[in-house]
Symmetry: C2
Subunit: 324 residues, 2 copies
């Protein structure tokens, strides 16, 4: 069985060798190359390969589809960054700010097509099944992004609405990456479906952890400045859930802090104080653990030996609760 | 065999019944519905169905893939209209001006996914072949759009560069629509490839005719204002080819007319006068006829009876040289 590191290297060398990126015009393909070379953990393709490796020794069959997931993910980042007007991604200028919006739209479009092209490069008898998963997932990711944009302008967002949004925006792609890996590894439909549910729970835990660490993480380990979400008025689980629980007075303070722009640390400390009033750190950690336990139960239900499960379980455990 | 009108009705009723458009959030799907209901000739899906009907009586198999081509085409229009900053399309506000740019980006993305979803709904044994055609074509269309954007800022564009750009931006999709129809109609690979070449030649003739009619058409029949391309400084075949032929003096006049913004009719008449100096109307008509004749030769090479060819030939003849 392969380690995540070995699989990540396979993914990186497959990306480096992509013939698509050698096509012309360079104005279209250079930004794609830039976006794909700009690091990232290769989380989704590694999960595709681990999903495959859980059932089969032959992971080569899943390599191109795994890269399809990475390119799809980066396509969504390219277009989301335009919509969010984000200047920086992974410490580098975003494509639309390094080039321009038109280039970012069109290069993103081409990335989606390249993702489909890589996904199509699998045995005929698996193609329809895999496409079905990918098409449904891709549409759900668009829906998640739309809900996210809707939340920006809506006064109230409930906890359930928020969880459904992150399920669509983040979890389904992680789940689909694992699911497609399993299908290519000749898993039974039941096991592949269980691994999909594992991915949904893992994705929810992962996104909630991201929300948590932005406020309560260790800045050195987290790799981002603490409080960034608070400064940007981002609707995180912490904010949505606190607003749902908060009394009139705290809600008033919270809302007025959204308009605080002169003193960043006063804003972060003020919001965090309200968060603390409602023990949002404990509540969020409990929620993360809930999803993580559900994921572990899903893994229990999968009918392969414990040995085969070990690499994916270790990887998952490293992913969740790394940086607290 | 079916008439184009019957096929157009099949396409329209398939689009009206699309379950995708009933999904939520409505903010994502309403603009898609709007873009698809906003008329158009349904040229590409009708060609898919006619390509299928050329070889087979069962066109039902090609109905969903045909709609995939219509939705893909409209996806490109949505994103191109953002890039071109175009306020109006088919006499209606464009999606990005009726809603906003973010909505137009995301709805366009979802349309591309829906196109793939409809395309995937075909028998397993044809799926890989059809996807191969579609993926290659979709990437080429992106490349064509990029070349078109490059031309806007480049001082000189050659006739060959222009023809390659419209081949990518317009012809390959028309050719692929026909090709996929043929594959679904169980055509031999040779016949399907010949129909693809027919589509390339038809598409080139069609785009050159569009360029021609914008300057030399009958405005009532053409349905658009004559001279629109000239007013917008659009690089058409007429402009590119004239600039290639023009002497220093005419080139100077032509370039200074590009900056004329106060008097539209002086601009149109001035540019047209230079065009006339080089007989660009005759040259363009000759080029259209050349491509049209090549298309007819491609059709000759296809091994089905003349009777089966009649509807597609009539449709093609109506398409080219309608409005002179």
């Amino acid at each position: 069985m392969y380690s995540p590191k070995e699989l990540q290297e396979k993914v990186n060398s497959e990306i480096a060798g992509l013939t698509h990126l050698k096509r012309t015009p360079s104005e279209l393909y250079k930004p794609i190359d830039y976006a794909l070379q700009n690091g990232g953990k290769r989380l989704r393709p590694v999960l595709t390969l681990m999903g495959c490796n859980l059932f089969s020794e032959d992971v080569a069959i899943a390599l191109k589809p795994s890269v399809a997931f990475e390119i799809f993910h980066n396509f969504t980042l390219l277009h989301d960054d335009i919509m969010d007007n984000a200047p920086i991604r992974r410490n580098q200028p975003t494509v639309h700010s390094k080039w321009n919006t038109n280039i970012a739209i069109l290069s993103g479009d081409a990335m989606l097509v390249i993702a489909y092209d890589l996904l199509s490069d699998i045995p005929d008898d698996k193609l329809k099944n895999v496409l079905e998963v990918f098409n449904r997932t891709a549409l759900e990711v668009c829906e998640g992004q739309q809900y996210d944009m809707n939340f920006e302008t809506s006064a109230v967002t409930t906890e359930n609405e928020y969880l459904e949004m992150i399920r669509l925006k983040t979890s389904v792609l992680i789940a689909a990456a694992l699911n497609v890996g399993a299908l290519l590894g000749d898993a039974s439909n039941e096991d592949a479906a269980e691994l999909y549910r594992f991915g949904i729970n893992l994705g929810l835990a992962f996104q909630l952890q991201d929300d948590f660490l932005d406020t309560y993480g260790n800045s050195e380990l987290f790799g981002k400045q603490i409080g960034g979400d608070i400064l940007m008025n981002k609707k995180t689980y912490l904010l949505v859930k606190t607003m749902e629980m908060a009394g009139k007075k705290d809600l008033g303070i919270l809302k007025s802090l959204l308009y605080e722009e002169k003193n960043p640390s006063a804003k972060i400390n003020g919001v965090r104080k309200i968060f603390d009033n409602y023990n949002i750190n404990t509540i969020t950690e409990r929620k993360i653990n809930e999803y993580f336990s559900s994921a572990m139960k899903n893994m229990d239900n999968i009918r392969v030996s414990d040995e085969r499960k070990t690499p994916l379980l270790n990887f998952t455990q490293n992913l969740i609760r790394r940086q607290t």
